[in-house]
């Protein structure tokens, strides 16, 4: 085999693929062959680097140079300058927004500095479609250790001692879940990986499956050994075609290498994994609903207990674990429980991956130790708010969570602290909002989502979320009353107390939390009939563009409530407090200066 002097790593995550990164892989290969470098330079398609807002991303090893926003047209220059002449193409380097200094190395960027990657350890580092690369980075070592050196009880003890808790949102101890599933005697047990990432705005599970599918396969096999299961099921969203494909490739390779199948590592333990596709239902993230969906039925939840650890898939003991939770397992086995236990806060150990999106400069996936503050995530890693606008709130936990305001930016993030301020960890979606976002509108958005996704089995959720949505709709249209606020509160609490599953029990959270923190905005909509952020269309007022206004006074003359002030040949201004949104000025203006709301 020829010695390869350089590796060109091209991001093959969904974000970068959408921007044409796969064409770039082909183009690199073709051009390198054309120039005769195909034997000494390899082009590798990797998983997500995490810095999705700057994609497509290309990293060159061993020089450790990180190029951002690369296009097909830049490939010639990268080959001619960087690969052949050894000169960095500085125009493609990432520039820190504050200093404008180009940074060639990712570890110097503030986006990566505070991150600590455990679950995402291999994403962007290896080719996810090559099992050899995973093995070269210590892959399947944990499985080997577990099967040959430890008893199943010992594996459970390690996971329990590590303090790992479910990353799908619940935060239940993973080791305990395994222990509860191991205890009941049964001829068959199951491990299910929950990859039905339904939280709108979260994409960490997708990135892990796309970038490092073997870590999930390895962890599921370890889980199978620990609880005594021989079958694993990955339940994945049909909307993630790339992740499904890479998982299928990885499963085939693992079988070929004898890492799945009969008598793994000559230990007498057999395990295999099948893939089941979801079909677009948020409620299937709930474990009992998920199990019904795997069984080919409507994904409606059932009452717990019995918990799946006693009676799950095919009525057999089943452990349902989230993708990110599983991705933490192999390093916990190889590095030990103490290592993992030392990271994080008192009750929340390890790291958490967050999908940072919304009005933030550095959109992407970030993995930070538990206990990092929101301020560090939003300002240090996220680079602050787009266009220097004012931060208003961040929503964590998606449709089940709540908003966090400036006052709580310095709260160290863990399961308990987020709950204490009225939100929750959830799966890790983090949507940043600025001064232009109306919080009543955001609450309406989430309730629209939950009332649509409610499976309809229990009345509080089926009817309650619908009524809450209708009241919010009324308020954003300027037809709300003070009574609606009281109704929203009491209905919200009633749904929380009486809904059957987690979807319903948490559905009112976005409303209750915005009512707590942004009560003034609700008042403005109801009493003043105004949307302070200017987002609610029905409440928006007409405006005059000062650049286009020539001061003809046509608008002022037709205004029925005389709310347009100005002098002829000067600039006219609409007094928004008095405007009745009749539109007469809009029709009268011949210079397109009146802006329709």
């Amino acid at each position: 085999m020829a010695t390869q002097r350089t590796h060109i790593m091209v991001c093959g995550g969904t974000g970068c693929v959408s921007s044409g990164s796969l064409d770039m892989v082909d183009s690199f290969k073709a051009k390198l062959t054309e120039k005769g470098y195909q034997d000494e330079i390899t082009v590798i398609k990797t998983g997500c680097f995490g810095f999705c807002g700057q994609g497509p991303i290309i990293k060159i090893h061993p020089d450790n140079v990180f190029y951002v926003q690369v296009g097909l047209n830049d490939i010639d220059e990268i080959i001619d300058e960087h690969i052949i002449k050894g000169r960095t193409v500085s125009r493609l380097l990432y520039k820190e927004p504050e200093t404008h200094r180009p940074l060639p190395k990712h570890e110097d960027m503030s986006f990566y500095k505070k991150q600590y990657r455990i679950a995402l350890r291999n994403c962007g580092l290896i080719n996810p479609e090559d099992i050899n690369e995973y093995i070269a980075f210590g892959g399947y070592e944990a499985l080997g250790m577990a099967l040959t050196e430890y008893t199943p009880e010992k594996v459970i003890d390690i996971v329990k001692a590590s303090g790992l808790r479910g990353r799908g949102g619940g935060g239940f101890s993973t080791g305990l879940k395994w222990e509860y599933t191991r205890k009941p005697a049964s001829d068959q047990k199951y491990v299910i990986c929950n990859a039905d990432e339904g939280d709108p705005g979260a994409f960490m599970d997708r990135s892990i499956l796309e970038g490092d599918p073997h870590s999930v396969i390895e962890a599921m096999t370890i889980a199978g050994y620990a609880i005594g299961a021989s079958v694993g099921v990955v339940y994945i969203r049909a909307e993630y075609p790339l992740a499904i494909k890479r998982l299928e490739v990885a499963l085939d390779q693992a079988r070929e290498f004898g890492l799945l199948g009969k008598n793994i590592f000559e230990s007498g333990f057999s395990f295999d994994i099948i893939i089941k596709l979801g079909a677009g239902a948020f409620v299937c993230g709930e474990e009992t609903a998920l199990i019904h969906s795997v069984e080919g039925s409507r994904g409606e939840p059932t009452k717990k207990p019995p918990f799946p650890s006693i009676e799950g898939y095919h009525k057999k003991p089943t452990s349902v674990n989230n993708v990110e939770t599983l991705a933490n397992i192999p390093p916990i086995i190889t590095k030990g429980a103490e290592w993992f236990h030392a990271i994080g806060t008192e009750k929340s150990k390890g790291t958490k991956v967050f999908a940072l999106a919304g009005k933030i400069n550095n959109v992407g996936l970030v993995e930070v130790p538990m206990g990092t503050t929101l301020r560090e995530i939003i300002y240090d890693i996220g680079g602050g708010i787009i266009g220097g606008k004012a931060f208003k709130a961040v929503q964590t936990g998606g449709p089940s969570g709540g908003v966090i305001t400036t006052a709580d930016l310095d709260t160290p993030i863990d399961y308990e602290s987020l709950r204490a301020i009225g939100s929750m960890m959830g799966s890790g979606g983090m949507i940043v909002m600025d001064e232009d976002d109306c919080m009543v509108n955001i609450a309406k958005f989430y309730l629209d989502f939950t009332q649509d996704e409610s499976c309809g089995k229990c009345t509080p959720c089926r009817l309650g979320t619908k009524r809450m949505f209708e009241m919010l709709e009324k308020i954003t249209e300027g037809k709300g009353t003070m009574e609606d606020i009281e109704k929203l509160r009491s209905l919200g609490h009633a749904i929380k107390d009486s809904a059957l599953c987690g979807l319903g029990q948490t559905a009112p959270n976005p409303v209750l939390s915005t009512l707590d923190y942004f009560y003034d905005e609700y008042l403005a909509h109801i009493v003043d009939k105004k949307c302070p952020a200017g987002a609610c269309k029905a409440l928006a007022k007409y405006k005059i563009d000062p650049v286009k206004c020539i001061g003809c006074s046509a608008c002022a003359r037709v205004c029925p409530v005389s709310c347009i002030d100005g002098k002829p040949k000067g600039k006219y201004v609409i007094n928004e407090d008095e405007c009745i949104s009749c539109g007469a000025c809009f029709t009268a203006c011949r210079f397109d200066a009146v802006i329709k709301p």
């Binding site: 959408s18 999705c52 039925s297 999908a355 999106a357």
Partner: protein, 166 residues
């Protein structure tokens, strides 16, 4: 029989579907997987096709219909050549996807979930497709368009029409 079965290639497609059903370890549990396969072959799941699946799998047709109507991924309506999937995830929402949606709706003259008279375009809102770094996002068939602004809509529609040679 509905138009699905009148289609020239129907027998061929049904053969593929039958072959897929054969590979399923258990019949009742296969409902969702088989419907995925059927939708990928035929494009949508009209009542006759649901009945066909039910009979093949030996489950009540009501169960198959129950599954089809429960999951948003399954469609009972025929779709256009281009399904314009508008991402309604939170990241796209705060970045102004509603303006993009109404622009598509205006230019195509159809509402959400409707198909144009020429059978070319279907407008469809979808849940987060997980490309939040590119918000607001529109996915047309398998191609993802990122950072879409209302001004880009005309060009995107033109591109699709060009592909079809219209």
């Amino acid at each position: 029989m509905s138009e699905v079965f009148e289609f020239d290639k129907a027998t061929e497609k049904l053969k593929l579907l039958d072959a897929f059903i054969e590979t399923q370890p258990t019949k009742e549990e296969a409902v969702i997987s088989v419907l995925h396969k059927a939708q990928s072959l035929f494009g949508y799941l009209p009542p006759d096709l649901q009945l066909y699946v039910a009979r093949k799998l030996d489950v009540p047709a009501a169960k198959v219909y129950g599954v089809v109507s429960f999951y948003s991924f399954f469609s009972e309506e025929k779709r256009g050549d281009f399904t314009i999937n508008i991402c309604m995830g939170t990241a796209c929402f705060v970045k102004g996807i509603d303006k993009v949606m109404s622009e598509f709706s205006n230019q195509l003259g159809i509402k959400n979930k409707e198909t144009t008279a020429d059978g070319l375009f279907t407008l469809n809102d979808v849940r987060c497709i997980g490309a939040c770094g590119l918000a607001p996002v529109v996915m047309i068939n398998d191609k993802v368009y990122g950072h879409v602004k209302a001004e880009d809509v005309g060009q995107i529609i033109m591109d699709c029409k060009e592909q079809k040679g219209v």
